[in-house]
């Protein structure tokens, strides 16, 4: 029976189809976590590194790229059963053997290569700490209602491969808030009348008006005498 291998971020339980994407996610989304714990990945579906070599082993060897630094202060206190050599191997040998080179990886993800010590190393030089959670024989994918029934030869559903492709663009990782820091400052509009005036101007004009046009509104409002119904307090 074909089995889907997923890599789960230990910090947010987010699933990825490839270990490089998981490492990239950890580096971008959990930057506040200490590098010693950032690269913890749960491999769901493999019994251990002896079941297959990480896909980056093949890719890294082909590219001849080597990471210069494999931090030695990594790996303390990891839960679960890690590999005897430090639990730092990861990946899907079946995926590598079947030639899933069509999946486009991000620049940072492709930098996850094999270090001098032969360990899987993330882009920032931290070895990945992969735990393995093998499934019992005959059990189906434990992800409810998400896997397509037709599994391809590479071991991933069509949905997961599409998601991997879209994830590799890194659009969401590049996303940032539209507002600037000035929105947290208190302004001068501290009366109900001024707040309502500002809100009306913003809602009615949005950003369609230039600063000159907005300044014209100021002149128009200040030159117009207030009616009796308006309470300037």
């Amino acid at each position: 029976m074909d089995m889907t291998v997923t890599y789960i971020c230990r910090h947010c339980e987010r699933e990825f189809s490839r270990v490089q994407l998981c490492l990239k996610h950890s580096r971008s989304s959990h930057a506040e976590v200490s590098p010693a714990y950032r690269t913890r990945v749960l491999c769901d579906g493999l019994t251990g590194p002896d079941q297959g070599f990480p896909e980056t082993l093949v890719a890294g060897a082909a590219m001849g790229r080597r990471s210069s630094s494999a931090s030695a202060d990594v790996g303390g206190g990891a839960g679960g059963h890690q590999h005897a050599e430090g639990g730092m191997h990861g990946g899907c040998g079946r995926a590598a053997a079947s030639g899933r080179a069509d999946a486009v990886l991000g620049e940072d993800a492709s930098r996850a290569v094999v270090g001098e010590s032969g360990l899987l190393v993330a882009a920032d030089g931290v070895p990945a700490q992969v735990e393995y959670a093998p499934r019992a024989a005959g059990t189906d994918n434990d992800v409810l209602m998400c896997a397509a029934s037709d599994q391809d030869v590479a071991g991933g559903s069509i949905g997961s491969r599409v998601r991997t492709l879209l994830e590799s663009f890194g659009d969401a990782a590049r996303g940032k808030a539209m507002h600037g820091r000035s929105c947290f400052r208190s302004g001068n509009s501290n009366t109900p009348f001024l707040r309502q005036l500002l809100r009306d101007v913003v809602v009615s004009t949005c950003t369609g008006l230039s600063r000159t046009a907005t300044a014209d509104i100021y002149h128009l409002v200040t030159s117009t005498p207030l009616g009796d119904s308006v309470d300037p307090t």
Binding site: V143, R174, G175, C183, A215
Partner: protein, 206 residues
């Protein structure tokens, strides 16, 4: 007003600051798509955040629980029931009676957002079918930039491919967390009704 804003510049800055505050409250994000060496700005809101906020703050919700009564016929359409009966059964079997499936349609039609001269975008919006059908509310979750056709041979095909890629990446970026919520569910606190686990499913895109 003159006491608060001594100069027109102060008023202009205050308006811009108020606009940024509203943008912050709406949770607007922006990212940049690079397609065929051209950059397209995509402004969006987290779809899951929008859905949850609208759902939890709605005055009337229909959870389609086994004990639900008074559900409008327009919400209990035959096609919707047929499509989700299996999902509903599966979700409740795995997560209990406090889990439910919540469908939502997504639209991005020819509606063009106001063009201020520099941008022209198509709105990406969704609707929650579980809320009051008497007061349907559209939630805008993104503005997909219009991809114009360049001049030259093959420009039409290239623009078509660029439009498709921009659209797919825009939908995925806006609904990235909804995809997870449709699989793993998301907890929602409805106050007096307690906590529920919702599974949001996209049923229609047009």
């Amino acid at each position: 007003m003159k006491d608060a804003f001594k100069t027109p510049r102060g008023f202009v800055d205050a308006v811009f600051q108020e606009w940024q505050r509203l943008v912050h409250l709406a949770g607007c994000m922006e990212t940049l798509f690079t397609v065929f060496n051209r950059k397209y700005l995509f402004m969006y809101r987290d779809g899951l955040h929008v859905i949850l906020r609208a759902f939890c703050s709605a005055p009337k919700q229909y959870l389609f629980t086994p004990a639900a009564v008074g559900v409008p016929a327009s919400l209990e359409g035959p096609s919707r029931r047929a499509a989700f009966e299996l999902y509903k059964t599966e979700v409740r079997r795995a997560h209990g009676d406090r889990a439910f499936v919540r469908p939502f349609p997504l639209y991005s039609d020819c509606l063009v957002l106001p063009n201020s001269g520099s941008y022209s975008a198509h709105a990406l919006r969704l609707r929650l079918d579980c809320l009051d059908p008497e007061k349907p509310v559209w939630h805008y979750i993104g503005a997909i930039l219009h991809v114009f056709t360049d001049l030259g041979p093959g420009a039409g095909d290239k623009a078509t491919a660029a439009r498709r890629e921009v659209l797919q990446r825009a939908i995925y970026t806006a609904l990235r967390d909804v995809v997870d919520a449709s699989i793993d569910g998301v907890d929602g606190d409805l106050g007096a009704d307690g906590k529920w686990m919702a599974f949001f499913r996209l049923v229609c895109y047009s």
